[in-house]
């Protein structure tokens, strides 16, 4: 049954025919083209499988719940409400000229995608042990699909943010059109960490607990709830060295400021994203052969 389900998800399969011995010798260019063709075909297959798994993840997550997809909206609203009360009302945190509620909700919306993406990725491989035992497919698809499923949730939360921006009459700039580019950066960074923790969690189940704790600390060291503009340059520089902190700051800047206030830090975020993404894949591939033994 599972095997059939897996086969359905892989709607196209690679046909590996036993022709290699019979085929004529290929020139280096023909061989390269053939490898590219196979690689491209596999990439398409992987993308389709990832999409199917991500959609399935969202469907099963909300299938038997009364509020269904509304949870994707309720969660950030409640979080923003609590933090908004604590920081805005009790501590009088200011984010002028942006209303603090909007400022806060922007940070929470983008942060939640990152944090939820990672927490979903952590158990994506270890939670699918039976599927892994039955059929072969690139294992890296599992954490990728987990992160993309949270991206679908994020799109709903983004709708809430847009409503609040309109309600509070907060001016936004044309540079908001840069958000997709910044989201690509954030997705790649989240995927990189996701691959790393998904693989490590197969070997050490403490990773799940550890990540929950780490993300809590990470959130307070990122400009989610406070603006960095009024901080001392030295402290601000250290906080913006944190790649996700820098990405969040850029996302807020392009929406509400119209330009990047600290453009230099975009380059460090770019460099860290590239490193984390590639290193994540590297670690995942390194641990992948051990999955069947451990699980």
């Amino acid at each position: 049954m599972r095997q059939r389900e897996g086969a359905n998800m892989v709607s196209h399969s690679v046909r590996i025919e036993d022709q290699e011995a019979r085929a004529p010798r290929l020139s280096p260019i023909q061989s390269l083209l053939s490898r590219w063709k196979t690689g491209w075909h596999q990439l398409l297959l992987g993308m389709e499988l990832t999409r199917n798994l991500a959609v399935r993840d969202v469907e099963t997550r909300y299938k038997h719940s009364i509020l269904g997809l509304y949870w994707a909206i309720i969660n950030p609203l409640v979080t923003a409400g609590i933090f908004g009360f604590v920081f805005g009302v009790i501590f009088h945190e200011s984010s002028k000229p942006i209303p603090y509620v909007v400022f806060m909700l922007t940070g929470i919306t983008f942060w939640n995608f990152f944090a939820n993406g990672i927490m979903s990725a952590v158990g994506s491989v270890s939670g699918n042990a039976s599927l892994l035992a039955k059929i072969y497919f690139p294992r890296i698809v599992l954490p990728t699909a987990a992160v993309l499923a949270r991206f679908i949730d994020f799109l709903f939360s983004l709708g809430v943010l847009i409503v609040f921006i309109i309600l509070y009459d907060t001016p936004i700039h044309w540079s908001t059109l840069w958000i997709p580019a910044l989201l690509i950066l954030q997705v790649l960074f989240t995927l990189g960490i996701g691959y790393l923790v998904a693989a490590l969690n197969v070997l050490y189940r403490d990773i799940n607990q550890l990540m929950g704790l780490l993300l809590l600390v990470w959130m307070y060291f990122s400009p989610v709830m406070y603006p960095v503009t009024n901080l001392k340059p030295s402290l601000r520089s250290i906080l913006l060295m944190n790649p996700i902190g820098s990405i969040l700051q850029m996302e807020r800047d392009v929406i509400f400021t119209g330009h990047l206030q600290y453009p230099q830090f975009a380059y460090s975020a770019l460099a860290w994203t590239a490193f984390v993404f590639i290193a994540g894949i590297r670690v995942f591939r390194h641990i992948e052969p051990m999955f069947s033994e451990v699980m």
């Binding site: 086969a7 892989v10 399969s13 690679v14 046909r15 590996i16 025919e17 036993d18 490898r35 596999q42 297959l45 059929i135 072969y136 497919f137 690139p138 001392k232 340059p233 030295s234 601000r236 520089s237 250290i238 913006l240 060295m241 453009p263 230099q264 830090f265 975009a266 380059y267 460090s268 770019l270 460099a271 860290w272 590239a274 490193f275 590639i278 290193a279 894949i281 590297r282 591939r285 390194h286």
Partner: protein, 461 residues
């Protein structure tokens, strides 16, 4: 037979793994060093004479074309070090900002790992030794320090030397010439490195004719374009630098620091193989080192100055050459000792950074940031060494060192942190500024907070 499963050939997978490993190492280097560079800049540790000079020069090149003048030297921008690649970098850099310069420099240096590995493969160096040499490159304090201390065109020559040697080994003549031409774009400080690459080609039996042609071309470039005369080559071509006629203890210590990790490896290897390994590339490195040792400029005898970075590729090629002729994997202890010595030098780099940069940075950073907002950028802006890089790509930034009341244009602005003394501004300038500020008819103060003052010069007399 047809299989409906997802199978990847094992050989292809292994090749991909090797590529991923290399990229992981390179990107780790890039992420760490770019962050450190930006942190230096953010904490006002970056220097105008290392970064501001290039920012102003590039802005001037974009604004005024090839004849643009530097406010730092008073000369044409390209006349100082003939680094014509500045023109190529100027347009994207003025658009994309200082971080772009940091990223380009760091990625270029990190990419030097690739040719090093390709050369190791061409020379059939054992895999562990190749990985060890690659690690030494990415951990080399000579390379990291040259990269970390803001921006220098000459540092870009480090990977280009390796790319040129790789092209030579693979007999790709077009690429070899292209890399030599690119090397000339790194300026006169890379001139000797270009000559040495040509020399490498000349001493090889199969490529002597390419080498002779390259030496001819390089010498012609040095004599006509760089205007280097034979009498000034007495210091092996350290063109702009006067020669010291006494060998100081500092210079000897400098040589020891630079060579330490390599001497540790070669020493341990010679004990084990009972013969001291020798390489032509080592001679080139020693020649380069000798030139720096003879220099009368103190900065040239620092392992952490950008002038020392160009010794690294020749030292690493020496190790690969020794390994290629040895043909046996080196014991783990020898490789660990090499890495340990390199890490020791990195710690030393940290101490050097603490004393030479961290302890001599301005502390009123909040006030300086506000002062930078208060200043208008239409007229010349005079500022201290650590403030200049924060003015960005503008043609009007001038180091305070060049402040001369007789020549200062009316309307010029001065940003002065009165609680900070940089090493580049003479005391006479500070005395002039104090006198000027006291005279309200000659200077109009527009900002005064936390010891940081911004004033406009409204009359010179």
């Amino acid at each position: 037979m047809v299989e409906d499963v997802w199978i990847r050939p094992e050989q292809e997978k292994r090749g991909e793994e090797m590529g991923l490993s290399a990229w992981t190492r390179i990107l780790a280097y890039a992420a760490l060093v770019v962050s450190a560079q930006i942190l230096r800049w953010g904490l006002f540790v970056a220097h105008g004479f290392d970064l501001g000079y290039y920012q102003q020069g590039m802005a001037a090149l974009v604004h005024d074309g090839l004849g643009a003048r530097s406010t730092y030297t008073g000369q044409a921008v390209l006349a100082k070090n003939h680094a014509w690649l500045l023109v190529v970098l100027a347009y994207p850099a003025t658009w994309l900002g200082t971080g772009f310069l940091f990223l380009v420099e760091t990625l270029a240096l990190a990419s030097g790992y690739f040719p090093l590995m390709r050369i190791a493969r061409a020379w059939t160096v054992p895999r562990e030794v190749a990985a060890f040499v690659g690690a030494l490159y990415l951990l080399s304090p000579l390379v990291i320090a040259g990269n970390l201390y803001d921006f220098h065109m000459s540092v870009l020559a480090v990977p280009l030397v390796l790319y040129a040697v790789q092209a030579l080994m693979e007999r790709h003549w077009g690429q070899f010439v292209a890399f030599l031409v690119l090397l000339t774009g790194c300026g006169s400080k890379a001139a000797i490195a270009v000559l040495m690459v040509a020399l490498i080609a000349a001493v090889r039996r199969q490529t002597w004719w390419v080498g002779l042609a390259a030496i001819g071309g390089v010498l012609a470039w040095m004599f006509w374009e760089l205007n280097i005369r034979l009498d000034r080559l007495s210091a092996l071509g350290w063109i702009t630098v006067p020669v010291s006629h006494t060998l100081t203890i500092r210079a000897v210590l400098y040589a020891l620091w630079v060579l330490a990790p390599f001497l540790v490896v070669l020493g341990a290897l010679s004990v084990q193989r009972k013969a001291f390994p020798w390489s032509f590339y080592g001679v080139l490195a020693l020649l380069y080192l000798g030139g720096n040792m003879l220099s009368a400029l103190p900065a040239s005898t620092s392992p952490f100055d950008q002038k020392s970075a160009l010794i690294a590729p020749f030292l690493l090629l020496m190790l690969l050459d020794v390994a290629a002729r040895d043909r046996r994997p080196w014991p783990f202890q020898i490789r660990a000792a090499g890495i340990f010595a390199t890490m020791g030098l990195l710690v030393l780099m940290g101490f050097d950074f603490y004393h030479s940069a961290w302890k001599v940075r301005p502390n009123n950073t909040m006030a300086i940031e506000q002062a930078l907002v208060a200043v208008t950028k239409n007229h010349p802006i005079y500022a201290q060494n650590n403030v200049l890089p924060h003015l960005g790509f503008i043609i009007n930034q001038v180091p305070l060192q060049r402040f001369n009341l007789a020549h200062v244009p009316i309307g010029s602005a001065v940003i002065w942190d009165t609680q900070f003394h940089d090493d580049t501004t003479p005391p006479s300038v500070y005395r002039t500024l104090s006198a000027l500020m006291a005279n309200k008819r000659r200077a109009r103060v527009v900002f005064d907070k936390g010891g940081v003052v911004v004033f406009d010069v409204v009359a010179s007399r």
